[in-house]
Subunit: 98 residues, 4 copies
């Protein structure tokens, strides 16, 4: 069964959020950034399995993710598969966008 890993992003602010997602792995350098844009006053659900630029997110391997945004957002990260239901509490970091 495929894992359904999702990040729920909430941009409660009045400015667009430019978000970068990095996926950390056990045996190689992190992949990314995967970039998404969340409009002001909107929520967006990102399925990791749908991310494919710059490369598909590796499957069937342990990973962790770091999510950066140029404006403050709230992130809820959920993994769902047949064996477990778990929540990741990701720290969200705001940094100056390039």
């Amino acid at each position: 069964m495929t894992s359904h890993e999702t990040a729920c992003l909430l941009n409660a602010g009045d400015s667009q959020a430019r978000v970068s997602i990095w996926v950390y792995l056990t045996d190689r350098d992190p992949v990314g950034p995967y970039r998404v844009t969340v409009p002001p006053r909107r929520t967006m659900h990102v399925r990791f399995n749908d991310l494919d630029d710059p490369e598909p997110v590796p499957r069937d391997t342990d990973y962790a993710s770091v999510i950066e945004s140029d404006v403050p957002i709230v992130v809820q990260h959920t993994r769902l598969d047949s064996r477990q239901a778990e929540n990741a509490l990701l720290s969200t970091m705001a940094h100056a966008a390039d």
Copy 2:
């Protein structure tokens, strides 16, 4: 199956808490505020499906919520349906009431 999304509000203080709930969506402006009042030294469970003023909470769509209170409260947010059990950790914000 209907999702049973609940916010458990705890007002451990000695003053009534006037609470506003905003529901953020993916494709339109947030709806709300839904207003509830939690008496001092009480807990209250709010089912999102029961909220209907100013309008029913949209169903079968991704959303996120922001909960504001004029006095500090503790919020636990739980979504429960047949596919998943997940916890949302909502930031609770105290602000001056109008």
Copy 3:
């Protein structure tokens, strides 16, 4: 089915922790304090259904709890029943014991 609500207390410090648990309800004043003592460098699991002094914890009703300790402790609160698995993130408060 009976709910199995548990608070896992961790006292990683070198002093005994005197802990007070208050249970907040929807329609009456909070009950408690239920008092437990966690020895230094020990963990303790408290089942709410086992608490009976000053009175049994009300069953089949919504409630929330506040846990106070005279030294810093870590609290994990878990509710388990046939319908749901959820985690409560309780704020732990250190205050001067009476």
Copy 4:
């Protein structure tokens, strides 16, 4: 059934993280430290049942854990067995390594 307790460690920094895990019990002194090293920019999943130095982690008993690292890391702790799915939110502490 055996519990599958896992700590997911994320070292998003550029320095190796030397991590010490202490397991706290109800009736005896904590055991440990179990030591693992997380390379820079890597994630690592630690299964408690695999830890055996300085001694196997006690089974079939309540415990809690404290995880220390000499550089900041992110920890997600998951317990999984047939009866429950629960998340522990562990405080992660950075301290000067010996």
